[in-house]
């Protein structure tokens, strides 16, 4: 366990009568980035939620001692008139983590959010702005594990690149372990060290650069997914 941030053995999750995950085994080394991919409904979000203890499960989930989480949930449904501003949310999260307000400024600078955006009720923020706010929230409290459920959802193209670079920087300089649900296979190929593929029929786990074969992707997604790699950049076509 010492070199691993996370060890999962024979994990199973059942929602009502449906068995969403079963017999899942994988390990994530400290400082590595694990991408979780798979078609809609394969159980990616369920897996992340089970890993943080939000869902009952069978099997074992072992986090390294002194793990501090930063968590980005999948798209949230926030009422437009909820009287909570971005600043309110960040201050509350910072207080829970016991960090100084200076760290809020640093997180905001890293994610590129301005003060005017922070004063608006969170329900009125554009999708990308809200996503950035939640990522800033996840970075508070010096986490050593980031769990991100589709971090680029709703973020514009330049923002996505900025986000990918930010995550890469956090991983390299702060030694952060990252578990990321993503539909962007080129990003997975480029940034992830390991990939966990959740398919309806089977799952697989291995190094991102070798595991993502066209045959495997077709099996996981149930249709052909071509992944082209050109000198560090990749494009996928379904």
């Amino acid at each position: 366990m010492m070199d691993n941030a996370l060890e999962v053995e024979d994990l199973g999750v059942r929602l009502g009568t449906e068995e969403v995950l079963r017999h899942l085994d994988f390990k994530v080394a400290r400082g590595q980035c694990l991408a979780i991919i798979g078609p809609n409904g394969a159980g990616k979000t369920v897996l992340l939620r089970a890993l943080i203890g939000a869902l009952p499960h069978t099997g074992s989930i072992g986090w390294a001692p002194h793990t501090r989480f930063g968590y980005l949930p999948q798209k949230l449904d926030i009422e437009r008139d909820l009287p909570v501003s971005g600043a309110d949310l960040l201050r509350a999260r910072a207080a829970l983590a016991g960090v100084a307000r200076g760290e809020i400024t640093a997180a905001l600078a890293a994610i590129g959010l301005d003060g005017a955006t922070l004063d608006k009720p969170i329900g009125t923020l554009a999708g990308g702005q809200f996503q950035r706010l939640l990522i800033a929230c996840a970075l508070l409290g010096r986490p050593n594990v980031l769990l991100l459920d589709e971090p680029a959802a709703g973020v514009d193209a330049p923002g996505q690149e900025q986000l990918n670079e930010l995550l890469r920087r956090q991983q390299l300089t702060a030694g952060m372990t990252i578990l990321m649900v993503s539909h962007d296979l080129s990003v997975v190929h480029q940034y992830a060290d390991q990939v966990l593929c959740l398919g309806r029929e089977r799952t697989c786990f291995g190094p991102a650069r070798t595991a993502l074969t066209p045959g495997l992707l077709q099996e996981i997604y149930g249709m052909p997914v071509a992944l082209h790699v050109h000198q560090g950049t990749t494009h996928e076509h379904a």
């Binding site: 968590y71 437009r80 009287p83 909570v84 600043a87 949310l89 509350a92 829970l96 983590a97 409290g141």
Partner: protein
């Protein structure tokens, strides 16, 4: 105003502060109608206490706390929305309560009759109100983060299920506190209306808390005074005062 009246007013103000504060989170957690429904859970407790010749408020408090535990337990086990569970529990409680209480006692229980408070009840009321206020202020950050995403709160070390239970208990305690003044039928209104007014007047969360407490206290004090002048139960007058303040707030453009 005689001494017992002053004591009663002090307790009423403390109760209103607690209601205004917890009401803000009830509104944000989409539990405003639940507040109305949940107050009815007190009725069978009042009926039972009257049958057993015990203090009706003690019966109400006990029933509300049992109701809160029941709602929390059913919700956890079945994942049905809080409002739905409260709706079911409330209807059953009202049905049971109406068979247990009758006549003038029932009217008092439904509409509120402040009168003079024994010292022990006044002290208990103030202590309970302080407990609710202390809970909200101490847990405010956890409540805010859990409101946006229970999963973010969970990863920040918040025991979300326990927080939900404590919130329901504080909510039930606040309702029990106000029953004497507003009665079973109307107590929910003092949890709903002040934060609704505050939402229109405040620019941020702190402002909303402050406005909500001010509106709840103003409505309670003005309503009690008017009821005393008219020689009628206080509940309807408190709610009408709160309603008038809501009407006034409509004159202002929304802060959002």
């Amino acid at each position: 105003m005689s001494t017992p009246d002053i004591t009663s007013q002090v307790v009423a103000v403390c109760m209103a502060i607690a209601a205004g504060l917890i009401g803000c989170f009830a509104l944000m957690r989409r539990m405003t109608l639940a507040a109305d429904a949940m107050s009815h859970v007190a009725l069978p407790g009042i009926g039972l206490a009257l049958m057993l010749r015990l203090n009706p408020l003690a019966g109400a408090l006990l029933m509300l706390l049992v109701g809160a535990l029941l709602i929390w337990g059913i919700q956890r086990r079945t994942r049905i929305a809080t409002e739905t569970v409260i709706g079911v529990v409330f209807s059953v409680a009202l049905a049971v309560g109406s068979t247990l209480a009758s006549g003038e006692e029932l009217i008092d229980a439904l509409l509120g009759t402040p009168g003079a408070l024994p010292l022990w009840e006044a002290l208990l009321g103030i202590a309970a109100a302080l407990l609710v206020v202390a809970f909200v202020l101490r847990m405010r950050n956890a409540l805010i983060v859990a409101l946006v995403s229970p999963d973010i709160a969970r990863t920040a070390g918040v025991a979300v299920a326990r927080l939900d239970l404590y919130f329901l208990l504080a909510f039930a305690l606040t309702i029990a506190l106000g029953l004497r003044y507003l009665g079973v039928l109307l107590m929910g209104s003092l949890i709903i209306i002040p934060p609704a007014v505050a939402r229109r007047l405040a620019r941020n969360l702190d402002g909303m808390f402050a406005w909500s407490m001010v509106v709840a206290v103003l409505a309670t004090v003005a309503g009690s005074a008017l009821a005393s002048l008219a020689g009628r139960p206080s509940g309807p007058f408190i709610v009408m005062s709160a309603g008038a303040l809501f009407g006034l707030s409509l004159l202002r453009r929304s802060a959002a």
